[in-house]
Symmetry: C2
Subunit: 342 residues, 2 copies
């Protein structure tokens, strides 16, 4: 039943004041060396532990940072969080996790909750773009708490971001499919109100145009990031007058669904149809028919976000720092689109 030891307990034992104890423990140069040693030794023997809450109240800094993601049980977000945690742990920060489940209301709630909890910064991937709930973001900025978006970003003055070049990701994936001989390439697109999906789409479109292929609106199918959605998309696409011979999907899960549906219809991959996904989820590599996918280097993204936070925290300057880091996407070519090598 260990009582909580405070600096007052140490002070009483040594017949000095708490102020002296505090100074000794904080290596204040004004303290006599002998006193410092005595205090440190006594503190250790009494098993003293600094109360971080008291420190936090006094300093106004909790040494906690908040991370908000749509959900944690996706390899991408979990990996980003891993990166954040690894980068921040050595600096004494603890990571507080919140999930939005793609719900705007919960996103706002989480933002307010984290500010209430006096976090020193917030790193997040936004849920969706909407003009209404901007007040939650501005509330964060007004409190001078660094706010950093990763992956899913939105334009707000004073907010830094760490993203990948989604345009380029869409571009290189599509270019690759073209290089493999595909000429009618469809696109499974996520919610284009989110920049990441908008940009992947634009990259896809540009690749077509740069290669002299015509862009067809009907080849673009909106999907949720789910296996079932990919199946349905294939169903729609194959009913077209000129069905496509390849799919660039903005989601690995939808890509997987597409492949399953194509196989169901006895269409050979990659001979008759090529597929590329996005995110490089672990399963894309594991499949017997492994899936080509664009890697977003989530670990690096997490670490980078953490570093941007560290740069911004403690900067008392009122000048809003706004840093935009853009990481390069990397295409992992696998069986689902390898005609030349297979």
């Amino acid at each position: 039943m260990s009582e909580k030891i405070t600096i007052y307990d140490i002070a009483k034992k040594l017949n000095i004041t708490a102020a002296t104890v505090s100074r000794a423990l904080n290596n204040n140069p004004k303290i006599k060396e002998s006193t410092r040693e005595l205090v440190i030794k006594t503190a250790a023997s009494m098993n003293y532990k600094q109360n971080k809450l008291a420190l936090a109240l006094k300093s106004g800094r909790s040494n906690n940072i908040g991370v908000i993601v749509p959900r944690i049980d996706s390899n991408f977000f979990a990996s980003v969080i891993r990166g954040i945690e690894e980068e921040l742990q050595p600096h004494g920060y603890q990571v507080i996790i919140c999930q939005t489940h793609e719900d705007l209301k919960r996103e706002s709630e989480n933002l307010y909750t984290l500010i209430d909890a006096q976090v020193d910064g917030i790193l997040m991937s936004v849920t969706a773009v909407s003009i209404e709930n901007d007040s939650a973001f501005h509330n964060v900025l007004e409190k001078n708490v660094p706010l950093i978006f990763f992956d899913r970003s939105k334009h707000i003055d004073g907010v830094s971001s760490v993203t990948i070049n989604d345009f380029k990701g869409g571009y290189i994936a599509t270019k690759h499919l073209i290089a493999e001989g595909c000429r009618c390439i469809a696109h499974l697109s996520g919610d284009q109100s989110l920049e990441i999906f908008k940009n992947r789409f634009l990259g896809y479109k540009q690749a077509l145009l740069d290669s002299g292929l015509t862009f067809k609106e009907e080849y673009v199918v909106p999907v949720k990031s789910m296996v079932e959605a990919g199946k349905e998309a294939v169903d729609i696409l194959l009913k077209l007058d000129t069905p496509p011979d390849a799919i660039f999907s903005s989601s690995d899960f939808a890509a997987l669904g597409a492949i399953q549906e194509l196989k169901e219809r006895n269409i050979s991959i990659p001979q008759d149809f090529c597929v590329a996904g996005f995110s490089n989820e672990p399963f894309t590599k594991f499949m017997e028919l492994s899936i080509t996918s664009v890697d977003q280097s989530p670990l690096e993204m997490g670490k980078m976000s953490a570093r941007v936070f560290l740069e911004q925290v403690d900067k008392t300057e009122t000048i809003k720092i706004e840093k935009k880091v853009v990481l390069a996407p990397e295409l992992h070519i696998r069986k689902s689109s390898s005609r030349t090598t297979s």
Copy 2:
């Protein structure tokens, strides 16, 4: 540049004391109704937010709970954390995440860090069993902070746990392989100093004995939870005088590696060889040759752990509550072991 509003600011504005403001906001019945309304209205208009750090210091409760896992970027642990977060969020608790990376030293460090941060409870999956570092656990218990193990547990007085019945998991998986006609069943085992792996092994062994099959030491191959380890294990097993005709793996990743290696050697699955894994990782379902696996209901495990925590927190009784919750494993039978239905 919004200044931080405190109850003193509200008090000054209304010419009353902070104590009255505090009482009004906390629905203290001693406050005149008109005063309460006025305070609440004023607080709202001034955009007052309670400082949780001050509250935490005063009450000794941070409303944060710590979660320690080997790593977060595994579907299993991420799902458990999701469950914990969902269950605790409505109660006003924030979840702080720490990773051990299977390192005993980091495990101890994390425990001390969380206690320093004044968390109200710690939910964790232990890294490995070792007698030396028990002091970190006892330090938690001495501070009267509820400690709950999930999945990977170890025997410490006063610690509750939420696990699945790993013995049964190993048992039903093995029984299933036997029912499919397999007679020489090998086992890929994780570190048996961890109870979960020990129990899966014991379940496997018991199933063999109950079915009149002989247990062979040479059929048990220790593996890490990695694809490569599964390949190597198959290499070893096929060199035996009597090679096995099935594998029950304590890891899905090792099971996947095993399957890849078996295919490489043109052994047909499930006709000539059956495989079952453990954890029900998402990819086991996604494969063309989907993998039979034992589900650990991680979401439920997380929620249950959170509930056990809620039961224990605030119980000021010195009597150590020790609750052991054991969830039932569920076998998901898939192609890698379905001779009868395929």
